[in-house]
């Protein structure tokens, strides 16, 4: 019917279902199980595009898949490191400046407060770590 039968040869329904659970897409199993007439009518126009897409996959991409809906630019390099520039004092400063400037930014104020709290905790953790390192040297 579609003239393309590639890649899926070694993939069984169960394996794919397991994959979708593993990568945080359990809802995908419902999509797959909807192989009735409604599905075929709805998808018939897109079928060739899908088969063309899949035919180009290398079979090794599933080593690294986002488990959650991907965030974009904020998502990369999530770990904190010593190059971070923000601290709780800076957040206080921003809040004060926004307040003094008469800024009507309710969502931003809440965000400043949340980020400030997080940074304060991070600062305490880093201080504690430094203290432990110093004690181990002494």
């Amino acid at each position: 019917m579609f003239g393309l039968d590639k890649l899926v040869g070694g993939i069984t329904d169960g394996l794919l279902g397991g994959l979708f659970d593993k990568i945080g897409m359990p809802w995908m199993k419902d999509i797959i199980s909807l192989a009735g007439n409604v599905m075929s009518l709805n998808w018939i126009g897109a079928a060739k595009d899908v088969f063309d897409l899949v035919s180009q996959f290398s079979n090794s991409f599933d080593d690294q898949i986002d488990r959650n809906q991907p965030l974009g630019d904020f998502d990369s390099n999530r770990s904190w490191n010593s190059n971070n520039t923000l601290d709780a004092y800076r957040m206080d400063d921003l809040r004060e400046r926004a307040d003094e400037g008469g800024f009507d930014l309710n969502n931003a104020f809440r965000a400043f407060a949340e980020i400030g709290l997080t940074l304060a905790v991070r600062g305490e953790v880093q201080q504690h770590r430094r203290a432990v390192e110093l004690a181990s040297v002494i």
Binding site: V8, A35, A46
Partner: protein
């Protein structure tokens, strides 16, 4: 989409975002976003939401902020609002993979086939070497659709043989 506050309208009229007026650097803004991302990854979506909404208010022209908030809304199945933010993110930066992937998920779950596949194609085309985890999520979706279509193909084949 969150409604535009009077402050945002005032800032827009002045041609400067609140972020610019407060002197928040690109690096600081990104770091704030990553704190939101940390909460998102931990599943603390209330805190993540607070931060992403705040970042949009600070910079309504930030594709990263719209993309992140759109992802959160997709995750919490608020699809109508999510589509608005994801579409805005793409308008602001068509080279970001994530908003296409999340739009594809929404369209897929709404059985809007052609729109879903169009977004999967965009996401996959932006990552030809299969290294981006977001684009690979799009590939996994395409594989699922492939399986559904293959199953339907087999069913039609069997029905045709039976009737003849």
């Amino acid at each position: 989409m969150t409604s535009q506050s009077q402050a945002q309208k005032d800032f827009a009229a002045q041609g400067r975002t609140p972020r610019e007026q407060l002197g928040i650097s690109d690096r600081e803004f990104l770091e704030m976003g990553r704190i939101g991302a940390m909460y998102y990854e931990q599943g603390n979506l209330d805190k993540a939401r607070t931060i992403f909404e705040g970042l949009i208010e600070l910079d309504p022209e930030s594709s990263a902020a719209h993309a992140a908030f759109g992802a959160l809304l997709t995750r919490t199945e608020r699809f109508t609002d999510a589509l608005k933010h994801l579409t805005r993110a793409i308008e602001l930066n068509p080279q970001q993979i994530a908003p296409y992937v999340n739009r594809a998920e929404i369209y897929l779950r709404q059985h809007r086939a052609e729109e879903a596949v169009a977004n999967l194609k965009e996401a996959i085309a932006l990552d030809p070497h299969e290294v981006d985890p977001a684009a690979n999520r799009a590939r996994a979706m395409a594989l699922g659709i492939y399986q559904a279509l293959s199953r339907q193909q087999r069913r039609v084949h069997v029905q045709t043989q039976t009737s003849t």
